[in-house]
């Protein structure tokens, strides 16, 4: 009976094409499962998938919205890849994003009646600082006390969210906001400039692309990128080489936190324009999927951020046109991660049909 069952065989050679194939396989399976779910719910799967994945970007406005969503995802994901390449599982980017928004937004609120070209750069710096400082906490706990960064970075997400909650219902509440839990709207010079008139895609996209390019350069050309890679592959080899592990861990956290903080600031000074409770639809967590879907590679992350951004837009359209709860977007994200992890098997193993040799 063995003759007809496929068997899983260890690859003798690394296949570089598989690296590109794995995300594609995951996407195909996600679409198949998605259409199965749609038809079980009683919708025409073709029309549903069209509503979900095509119609949101069939207009210029829709495409701009895609970039608005992809910008923070790509920025956080590229930051996360500094950590993940080094086998540091910082999953607290959402908290680092929130802190970046608080620090940067705080500057905007402090100078609410002062305009000036210097305001936005100051906010950017403050955003980076907020995210980095928040990421420094799990980094120091890990290097000094060997605590597990997965737990500490995750728990700090909730702390950051509560601080934001407190600020927008308390000291930073808009005095003329009818008691809504939100801050004053930022003034004009505290807002990210729009790239095109009438579209929400903003200058954060340019910053993101520049940082992605710089990161590509760091990963492939510098000794720092090399050290991150070696430490991730073999901690024993990194010790043999004599790398300073603590320095690497702290740098990766600070960079990652800085990028996430910048993404948070980009949101509040870009499309949102003020501080309130729900500044991020879980961008910090979703970026983990983006990072792995892009295989921690800068180019891969650009593509994967677009794909995941589409699930956000698709979910909104599905809610409007199909009356499906927008949580279906998270289902798609979950499916994608699930199939991605499954397809990872193909990197080291291949499926062989026919007789086992």
């Amino acid at each position: 009976m063995n003759f007809f069952l496929p068997s899983i065989v260890l690859r003798t050679q690394n296949s570089s094409s598989v690296n590109f194939l794995v995300p594609l396989i995951a996407i195909v399976f996600t679409l198949l499962t998605g259409s199965l779910i749609f038809s079980l719910l009683g919708f025409d799967p073709i029309y549903s998938l069209y509503t979900f994945f095509i119609s949101p970007i069939s207009s210029l406005y829709g495409f701009s919205e895609l970039l608005v969503k992809a910008t923070p995802l790509a920025l956080i994901a590229i930051g996360l890849s500094y950590c993940f390449k080094n086998n540091i599982y910082n999953i607290g980017a959402e908290g680092q994003l929130t802190m970046g928004a608080i620090f940067g937004g705080g500057v905007a609120i402090y100078f609410y009646n002062v305009e000036g070209f210097w305001l936005l750069p100051l906010m950017l710096l403050a955003g980076v600082l907020g995210g980095s400082l928040w990421a420094l906490i799990p980094a120091l706990l890990k290097t000094k006390f060997n605590t597990n960064e997965i737990l500490t970075s995750l728990m700090l997400v909730y702390v950051a969210t509560f601080i934001l909650d407190y600020l927008v219902v308390g000291p930073w509440k808009d005095p003329s906001g009818f008691s809504y839990p939100k801050s004053r709207p930022f003034n004009e010079s505290a807002r990210m400039p729009e790239l095109f008139n009438g579209l929400r895609v903003h200058f954060g996209l340019v910053i993101t692309l520049i940082l992605i390019f710089i990161s590509w350069f760091i990963f492939s050309k510098t000794i720092f990128g090399f050290q991150l890679k070696v430490s991730g592959l073999s901690i024993k080899a990194a010790r043999f080489a004599g790398f300073n592990q603590n320095k690497l861990i702290i740098s990766a956290f600070i960079i990652c936190g800085g990028f996430a903080g910048l993404a948070g600031l980009g949101e509040v000074s870009g499309p949102i324009g003020l501080l309130y409770r729900d500044i991020s639809p879980n961008y910090g967590f979703t970026a983990i999927i983006v990072a792995f879907l892009g295989r921690l590679h800068p180019i891969g992350i650009i593509f994967s951020s677009l794909i995941i951004a589409l699930t956000y837009l698709g979910a909104e359209d599905a809610q409007i046109f199909l009356q499906i709860p927008s949580a279906v977007g998270f289902i798609f994200q979950g499916l994608l991660l699930f199939y991605l992890l499954g397809a990872e098997l193909l990197i080291n193993y291949k499926i062989q049909f026919g007789k086992i040799s």
């Binding site: 510098t222 043999f240 080489a241 004599g242």
Partner: protein, 500 residues
């Protein structure tokens, strides 16, 4: 064909890109010790795995006791009377000897009967064992005895042993051979897999020599000597290795004084009060059975472990025990740890990147934090050329190289850094004889240029061959130093086993 208990007929087995066994045929006479001799990669292990039911041959058959052997799992192999002792022990370290023995039983048997059976075996074959001791507290020789008793409980007719002496001290080897002779007297046939020539001459009745997946010859030991066997096994003559005592300078290069390091962990060996000296141009060998503190000592010498309890490490009269590996390299000290996959080299990285691994700091390969790819590439190419590393190019992944070639690359990388002191652990572990000879020659050449070398190895033969002086590490302590040109092997053996 009645004279053979095992008659192997035309066994072939292919793996992708390599024919591991090509029409292997030979007979094994009943109640003998039959050696299968060959280098690493000659196809010995593949054949043994087929015999033990771990993999299936593509072609050919095995006639066992006049019937064709048809098994598809080790459990079936054990049932028909084929027992196997692997090179790496498969024991539960935290359980006692008794518990380990009970776990090895395939059939149901009452506790009392089993106890009696174990006692009988231990007495009969003088396999001294404390049944209540946890396995982790045993020496390698004792662990092997547990494995032997566990296999004997199944009453095997054929006992297959894969490189059984690789972790034993000379005395333990002796007592193993006594046990093997007693087993043969009791109608057990032993298939002895090895690449050590002396052992074949000492213990075996007949030998099958394999090379590149094929049987070169099967014969009785008769007039064969270690040298004739070596030539058949390798298919060529190897260059003689000769060391030179005259190049040693009367100047101390490296000195360790009263070094101690406690781990408080049963999986680590504490280093206790170790002292030794190495002169310029001298090769010091540190012998010992695995697990007696070699790894721990190596990590302290390389600076990977800086948490020593007490003691001094002096290099050219300068204290270096607080320096990390890079800082030590900057003083012209090089290291080659034992494990080439994931320690001295990263298998997933290219050779170029691996060159950077030990030379990333304070050198021409980086400039302002940027990797100088061209210079790196040229340097890696010169390692490949000078040390005969067989690979596609400097961008091939380290994992695509054979063990011997990767080891030549790693050692070449460290030698080309022109060290004043090289500390190397198990330089020829698990590689073919050609590469082994090349590496030993390279080390001797390097010492003649004035480099001091410390070689930590389990291979006593190797250490006597290449080193000028020898010390023995046992349970974290180091013996006095002996000159290798006037050494007493008996004494060394005793020291390796913990004697005085």
């Amino acid at each position: 064909m009645g004279q053979f208990i095992l008659d192997i007929q035309n066994i072939s087995k292919s793996f992708p890109r390599v024919k591991a066994n090509n029409k292997v045929s030979f007979g094994v006479k009943k109640n003998t010790v039959h050696a299968i001799l060959g280098e690493n990669g000659a196809g010995k292990s593949t054949f043994v795995k087929i015999l033990y039911g771990l993999i299936k041959q593509d072609e050919g058959k095995i006639i066992y006791k006049n019937n064709e052997l048809k098994i598809s799992s080790p459990a079936e192999a054990r049932k028909v009377g084929i027992g196997m002792i692997f090179q790496h022990f498969s024991l539960f370290e935290s359980l006692t000897v008794r518990e380990n023995l009970m776990l090895g039983i395939d059939d149901y048997i009452s506790y009392k009967k089993l106890e009696i059976k174990i006692e009988n075996l231990i007495q009969k074959y003088k396999l001294t064992l404390d049944l209540d001791a946890p396995v982790i507290s045993l020496s390698s020789g004792q662990k092997q005895r547990v494995e032997i008793v566990r296999v004997l409980l199944q009453n095997p007719k054929i006992l297959v042993m894969d490189e059984p002496t690789s972790v034993l001290s000379p005395q333990e080897v002796k007592s193993l051979f006594i046990t093997l002779n007693a087993l043969v007297k009791d109608e057990t046939t032993i298939l002895y897999i090895t690449h050590k020539l002396e052992e074949v001459i000492t213990i075996c009745n007949s030998v099958t020599i394999m090379r590149d997946g094929e049987v070169i010859e099967t014969s009785s030991i008769g007039s064969n000597t270690a040298k004739t066997l070596a030539n058949k096994m390798l298919g060529k003559n190897l260059e003689e290795i000769s060391k030179d005592f005259s190049a040693i300078k009367d100047q101390i290069n490296f000195e360790v004084n009263n070094l101690s390091c406690k781990f408080n962990d049963p999986f680590f060996t504490d280093i206790i009060n170790i002292s030794f000296k190495v002169n310029k141009g001298e090769i010091l060998g540190i012998a010992g059975v695995a697990g007696n503190g070699q790894t721990e000592l190596m990590e302290i010498l390389s600076g990977e472990n800086l948490n020593i309890e007490s003691g001094k490490i002096l290099y050219n009269n300068k204290r270096i025990e607080k320096l990390n590996p890079q800082q030590r390299r900057n003083l012209s000290i090089s290291f080659v740890p034992e494990d080439r996959l994931g320690h001295s080299a990263v298998p997933e990285l290219s050779l170029n990147e691996n060159t950077l691994l030990s030379r990333f700091y304070n050198n021409k390969f980086t400039k302002n934090g940027l990797i100088q790819k061209k210079i790196l590439d040229d340097h890696t190419k010169s390692i490949i050329n000078l040390f005969n590393v067989k690979c596609l190019d400097a961008d091939s992944n380290a994992s695509s190289l054979s063990g011997g070639n990767l080891q030549k690359y790693v050692i070449g990388r460290e030698i080309l850094s022109e060290p004043e002191l090289l500390i190397i652990s198990h330089p020829t572990w698990g590689i073919d004889a050609g590469a082994e000879n090349f590496i030993r020659q390279s080390l001797i050449k390097l010492s003649k240029l004035g480099t001091s070398i410390i070689v930590i190895s389990q291979d006593l033969e190797e250490l006597i061959q290449i080193s000028h002086k020898l010390s023995i590490i046992y349970n974290g302590t180091l013996s006095n130093t002996f000159n290798t040109d006037s050494i007493d092997i008996e004494k060394v053996g005793l020291l390796m086993g913990g004697g005085k």
